[in-house]
């Protein structure tokens, strides 16, 4: 069974959700990709902060 499918079997409610697969999960802690996301998120947050002051 694929890693992302394991938890579907653990709880009836889990079956109605989406669970990330191996690639999606590894990207969450991929340092290079996350550094890019760090820059993007910071820019997005600064825009919201500037609109709020």
């Amino acid at each position: 069974m694929k890693e992302e499918e394991v938890n579907f079997a653990k709880n009836e409610r889990f079956q109605l959700t989406m669970i990330p697969g191996t690639v999606a999960k590894s990207m969450r802690t991929c340092v290079v990709w996350q550094f890019i996301r760090f820059l993007v998120i910071n820019i997005k947050m600064l825009v919201v902060v500037s609109k709020s002051h």
Binding site: E4, N11, F14, T17, M18, I19, Q34, R37, S50, H53
Partner: protein
């Protein structure tokens, strides 16, 4: 020389006092009355609660900072407000009770020209029998609302992890301890940090972890949820929250009003009216918030608390408290200047102001028990409101009573929020979110109530880095280190 008195030294009060002191200079006086000797960056208490930070790392002494800023600091709690003075003086004043070591219990009065009430919440553990004592250190559950509570939570968590390592299966229950709680975000962060630490300890297979909350759906967070643009879709926060819970094998119980806690048992009522009991070996349940219980008296000494404060103890400001049913709620109901309608020299900021109504759709069980999250107004909104109110008061002092008041409606401001899901430089994750505006405006944004160009969220290591950087940045700012005014709230 005018005197501004700020009640409270949390995010909102500290922001208001420090900016007011900077803007007013030495020509006027700023007084801060707060019962605490230390400032606490509350969002990092989560990490104290799992042993990833110490109490000392999330707090610092206030006295040297206020001395540097030229602020008159009184370590005391406010007891009452006399906005018209009393029989002996026409000058408005607050009555305070010192909490400073060596002066505990001493009563004094502090006259003011302008007053900002930023007292924050009373952690109302008493609303749920068994939830905690007056200090929050209950026999049966723990809390992460203060650094001391979080330290205690970690001590208890350590015992549970030791039991799991010894082969004893443990049930962990985390969430909200009453049907009218706010701050689901803190509990959300704590449950995933606990799960992360248990996994790191190698005993994840020995733990049954369950979420219990008063939200009618996962991802409500007291804001009625939010919609984010992801992969070309506008997606509800419900889908993302449920996905994270399923991914981390955390079961959930929602629409729950915890009405009694006993040793190892949380008694609850659900939105469908049914009653149940959830057993646990370790439980962190957030208490509901209430106003701190300030009283108010007029010149004749008559009690006018109901004039200044809503029944929940929060201060009435320029909000529309007569909006009525949910269908009639509008973004314009929310306060803009935070000036009290009855006394123009009194303002409330942060958690201390009374919201006009909920943000989430009101719900109650068939038994008539209200079960819905109350509006969050911590963090970035609290800071922005504190700064706007300080700006208004400074203008009133320096430009006269007809000065324009600055506005900071939660229906016109956004918020950036980073919810930790586990700490670690390379294996940590956090959900980084922005929401604009905090209070949905269905007249301006008829679909979701919010601007989906500025409302987004994603989970990853980048979010964790941001949360960790913000920890240091906001403590740096709160200490008034060089360039502190350049760091936004």
């Amino acid at each position: 020389m005018a005197r501004l008195v700020v009640l409270g030294g949390g995010v909102s009060g500290h922001t208001a006092a420090t900016f007011a002191a900077k803007w007013l200079g030495s020509s006027h006086e700023v007084v801060v009355v707060t019962p605490n000797s230390k400032w606490n960056w509350i969002p990092s208490n989560i990490w104290v609660g799992v042993g990833q930070m110490t109490k000392e790392e999330v707090t610092f002494p206030l006295a040297p900072v206020y001395a540097k800023a030229g602020i008159n600091y009184k370590q005391a709690k406010a007891v009452s407000i006399n906005p018209e003075g009393d029989a002996s003086t026409d000058k408005p004043f607050v009555t305070i009770e010192y909490t400073e070591a060596g002066r505990e219990g001493q009563i004094a009065t502090v006259e003011y020209d302008y007053l900002i009430n930023a007292t924050g919440p009373k952690l109302n553990f008493a609303a749920t029998p068994g939830l905690g004592d007056a200090n929050g250190l209950g026999k049966f559950t723990v809390s992460v609302c203060t650094a001391d509570h979080a330290e205690h939570a970690f001590e208890e968590l350590t015992k549970v992890i030791a039991k799991m390592k010894a082969g004893e299966r443990q049930k962990i229950l985390i969430g909200t301890g009453h049907g009218m709680c706010t701050c689901q975000g803190a509990a959300f962060e704590y449950i995933f940090n606990v799960e992360h630490e248990i996994k790191k300890a190698g005993v994840r297979n020995m733990a049954d972890i369950k979420w219990i909350s008063n939200e009618s759906f996962l991802g409500d967070f007291g804001m009625g949820g939010l919609h984010m643009k992801v992969g070309g879709y506008a997606v509800s926060s419900k889908l993302f929250a449920e996905s994270l819970f399923a991914e981390r094998n955390v079961d959930w119980l929602i629409g729950a009003h915890v009405h009694k806690v006993e040793a190892g048992k949380a008694h609850y009522e659900l939105l469908d009216g049914s009653m149940g009991v959830e057993e646990f070996d370790f439980s962190m349940l957030i208490p509901p918030f209430a106003g701190v219980g300030l009283k108010a008296y007029n010149k004749a000494g008559e009690d006018i608390t109901a004039t200044l404060f809503a029944p929940n103890g929060f201060m009435k400001v320029d909000a529309n408290y007569a909006a009525g049913a949910y269908e009639n709620w509008k973004a314009s109901d929310w306060p803009k200047t935070y000036q009290t309608p009855s006394y123009k020299n009194i303002f409330a900021a942060g958690i201390a102001f009374a919201p006009p109504h909920l943000i989430s759709k009101p719900m109650s069980s068939p038994n008539g028990t209200p079960i819905n999250p109350t509006p969050p107004r911590t963090g970035m909104p609290a800071g922005i409101i504190g700064k706007a109110v300080a700006h208004s008061v400074c203008d009133l002092i320096t430009k006269g009573v007809n000065a324009h008041l600055h506005e900071a409606s939660m229906a016109a401001m956004g918020a950036a929020c980073v919810a930790s899901a586990g700490k670690g430089l390379f294996d940590g994750t956090a959900a980084a979110m922005t929401v604009y505006p905090v209070v949905p405006d269905f007249e301006k944004y008829p679909g979701t109530g919010r601007d989906t160009d500025y409302t987004f969220g994603e989970i990853g290591l980048a979010g964790h880095w941001i949360k960790h950087i913000l920890h240091h940045l906001f403590i740096y700012k709160a200490k008034l280190n060089p360039g502190w005014t350049l760091i936004p709230e």
